[in-house]
Symmetry: C3
Subunit: 446 residues, 3 copies
């Protein structure tokens, strides 16, 4: 169930990387034409609905921002040289900058120029979402080289009443209970943060939608960070959503190579936390929930909702040097890393699909005789590599046979044994076919 | 109570080692004359009943095997040289081999020859209990040296309807609640696995049977591994046995020197687990229950029984190089190691006898004045070795005086303090004599 | 609330050290004029009541000792040299020595001479409280140099019916629930053990008494060790005291530099244990309760009282080389260390004052928008030092905003976040002023 076809995955990796390259040049923000253009491209591959939330609408403590439509922007230095040209790099212009066409002295301009002294060759990503302001971003090297004198500042942009766009798709399963996959589309021209989240979510959709059987429904969100999740939550029924969404993963910075990172839900030990912890045993680490930093899990886990949603990343937001800079380019998120992320996510979802199954021994007294059922060698000789060897299916079989007492779920057994959840499921299914186990009805799915 | 006479123990060690040497040459298997001969020798030292379970009887998912009576076996190579002669070493013949007298080519013979390439000079121990088959075992060196040509294969053995023999003795105590000591008698000519278990169980019996007072009854089992425990369990009342047997230890590979290993019961934190963990604090390690490997604890802990029985060994089965080979000889299990194992087991039993006692302070306000009762020096001077010194009886006294509040058992106090359970018992008894504590009735013994 | 004025603290340190120098020469014991003189000096700085408990009164299992009034004592060696002169060093005379004026041979004298072979140049502190005896203490070097011959032993002391003096003051707060600060006054001429406890308790009183608001009342005890706390407890109502005193700290050996040590209450995880553990996170260690050694917490935590009282020290009693010797001099307890101890104690008390406050989000859905309330920058740029930075007030704010759900106390949030309890309180109060949180009534204060 969890072995995706490795050739498919390989081509899926390249396919995701190409999709990322297509989305990379578009200037996204909280609301505006760049976001809409991105959602139209996404919609070609996953049949999302696009919901429009009107500008200035109050959503809980927040207000939906105006649409921002940047066209061109630059500054001209005293020597006539154009600098920080928006059409060269989206990051050159502070996001949501108001229009400007004005001559000013360098000293007046400097408070509006942003750079990173510790990383002198990259352009930082700066936003001014909730205060009407303007600014330019450039490398520290360029900023230091600016000559004194008069500068022409030119920003051709609009901040207008319109709407903020949210993308959403529900892939139905046998149950109406949902697993939520949420990622954000508000970042311009940065690959890991967060086009990786966008293409990995689509990659996961491609695999899950092909399954013949899904216990759970899967809801995919492509929304602006913070204000997008707040606006989406605003339109849900608080009690119904907590009932319906049994677990969720926010995807962020999930395109680079290296270990995975799971930031636990606010509950800390919910089913999704336990399943992810098992799946990441040798491929990642888990950290406790914290409201200080992160992404939309902070909104989903605000005390009024307190949903069982965590954050899956490969580099936790803010902890890698190219974060929020022009150095966050697609070559940092190669196809094989994107593939690995989809594979991990798929394993997590498959783990969620089977974790609460319970089996019961038909005859619970002593061990069943495996050899008469072809499940064990008849000739017994010491293994050369030593008797303790948990890598084979026999180990998985012994565990499900002993702990299938009607009390332990597959997840419980996986945690006790340290064995792979999905292989335990396979072993239990074999034993069920061999009439040694029976599967119990699980009541917690509607 | 726990200080066995060290001279007795010393002679007990030699005595056990001699008994092992007497049992070593006998060819045991699941059922047959070798097992019966061994039980008769055992019966000289512990008054066991010998129960016979008929061949082919269904016991839960298993079938009792036929009796196996090997007489002689060998192969003759093309040069007329006899090899793998059964009467030279029981391990040369695959256990439960059917009779054979046939000439065959080396190529036909080879699939029936067993050796260990990684240990080229030892003979492996191989069985074919549940499939009628035959085979020989030899060193990898010898196997490699076999010349091509015609071989004569000769096996004079019988597989006949008869019975499987189980040895059992109940040493009564004040209560009908039992502690089960189970070990297995099915292995031919191997010392640590498992004649060590047999002689250590008898050694323990010798010490415990001499006690003037025993709270618990002690049941000793000497049975074939797996099928023996399953057959024994088959003849018990499922509910009554779970009530009656409050704890148990399976003894396996307990004759070598080195740390002890306790494989916990399926419950993980039952009283026997807690007591053994305390006793082994500086002499062993504990591992969690696992149904993958081990010995009869897997049957006692199958979900239908789920008894509080773990496995005590010094080398966990399968983890030492001489395991299941001709290298597992009595010199690897010297008298002092056998003595140490009996001493450890005796301490565990004594710990079980006292662990649930509760005491209560007669006047619980402030510390009792120890000096007026001769329990403390009147002159107080700083100790040269520092004030913190938990090795003396005063430390044990202070702990029982503070925590004898009617809630804490001696086991609780031992766990909190890290002090020796049996010394805490002594301290509490002194304080009871000094009228500072009173012993509370414990209700959980019938 | 927890930032004491550092200049006050500095002068407080010197002030405490000077007070210690004033108390140092006085010869204290369990009962007698030295104790009374010390309490009169203490009373100048904290308005204690002095309670007198009659000699020979039975208090629980103990008897109040007679008053001991030493005047002068020495021995004269065969050469006429005076040695172990009491008026040179209080420690030269075994505490509670009976009067003596007698000539004797060195061999008769030696059993009454105490020294520390491992520390040959210091005089040990020796007592004989509960057995009428006598003795002298000297350095091992001096003891070894004593010539053979006749010695004159002279002790001018009285052991008379009188009373034992206890000092006690209750500083009232809004609630009648108390925090108990207990320290002992029975040690002569030793600085860390335990004049440090006396002056630090007074230093704490000076800070706490200046607070405009105190939730709790604070009770200060200055009593002889063991018999003093037992006598004090004897005069309390057992049930009322357990209700009234919600927590307490015994102060011992708290004047030296270095890490703090908290010996937990017998409960192990009571509120005071949790608060101290947080406060000491980077400045100390916690150890589990043990009745073996320590100070008066052993009486407060005897099973009949079982109060939530632990021991705060900087060097756990008995674990430093100058302990109970003439080397425990005031230069080992410098003003800055005394200041640090008062600061730590004050932070603990302030933590206790706020730990159980709960707040609730007024609108619990999503995060509140901080920027519109001036709690967050409007321009968002990556922090140079990395996004994860828990040292600023924003981190504290995010935690109280997420976990103020009516369930979590400030203590819970501090434990989850690892952030400073008193700064979390500040952040929560700011958010309350900004109308984002409301403070909930806490019911567990009468």
């Amino acid at each position: 169930m969890n072995n995706t076809n490795s050739k498919n995955i390989k081509s899926l990796g390249n396919w995701m990387h190409n999709l990322m390259l297509e989305l990379y040049p578009i200037c996204r923000s909280l609301a505006g034409p760049g976001n809409r253009e991105s959602l139209f491209i996404i919609k070609k591959h996953i049949p999302i609905d696009i919901l429009e939330v009107p500008s200035l609408k109050k959503v809980f403590d927040w207000t939906v921002p105006k649409e921002w439509s940047p066209k061109e922007a630059w500054i001209v230095d005293p020597n006539g040289k154009k600098r920080a040209v928006f059409s060269n790099n989206n990051l050159n212009l502070v996001s949501h900058s108001v229009p400007k066409n004005e001559e000013m002295d360098l000293s007046e301009l400097l408070p509006h120029l942003y750079s990173l002294p510790a990383q002198p060759n990259v352009i930082p990503y700066v936003t001014s979402y909730y205060k009407e302001d303007w600014g330019f971003c450039m490398s520290e090297a360029e900023k230091k080289s600016l000559p004194k004198g008069k500068y022409q500042v030119f920003i051709d942009s609009k901040l207008e009443i319109g709407s903020m766009s949210l993308g959403e798709f529900l892939l139905p399963g046998e149950s109406k209970k949902e697993i939520l996959i949420s990622t954000y589309i508000c970042h311009p021209s940065m690959a890991n943060d967060n086009l990786s989240g966008v293409v990995v979510a689509i990659g996961l959709y491609r695999l899950i939608s092909q399954l013949k059987y899904r216990k759970y429904s899967y809801r995919f969100l492509f929304i602006p960070e913070t204000i997008g999740s707040i606006a989406w939550l605003f339109h849900q029924d608080e009690h119904e959503i907590k009932e319906r969404v049994i677990a969720g993963l926010v995807l962020s910075c999930i395109g680079n190579e290296g270990l995975f990172n799971w930031k636990k839900t606010r509950h800390g030990n919910s089913l999704i936390d336990r399943v992810v912890q098992l799946i990441l045993k040798s491929s990642g680490v888990c950290m406790d929930f914290s409201p200080e930093t992160g992404s939309d899990e902070r909104q989903f886990c605000s005390p009024g909702f307190d949903m069982k949603i965590g954050l899956l990343s490969r580099s936790y937001p803010g902890t890698f040097s190219s974060y929020h800079t022009s150095a966050d380019t697609p070559d940092k998120t190669p196809p094989n890393a994107l593939e690995g992320s989809v594979d991990c996510l798929f394993n997590i979802c498959m783990g969620m699909e089977v974790e609460n199954i319970k089996y019961q021994r038909i005859n619970p007294y002593g061990e069943p005789m495996l050899s008469k059922r072809g499940l064990y060698n008849n000739i017994s000789i010491k293994k050369e590599e030593g008797i303790i060897n948990s890598s084979d299916i026999r180990a998985h079989l012994m565990w499900v046979l002993n702990f299938s007492d009607g009390d332990h779920t597959l997840l419980d057994i996986a945690e006790k044994s340290g064995l792979d959840l999905n292989l335990l499921y396979k072993a239990a299914e074999s034993a069920t076919e061999a009439n040694v186990l029976k599967k119990l009805l699980v009541s917690d799915i509607d």
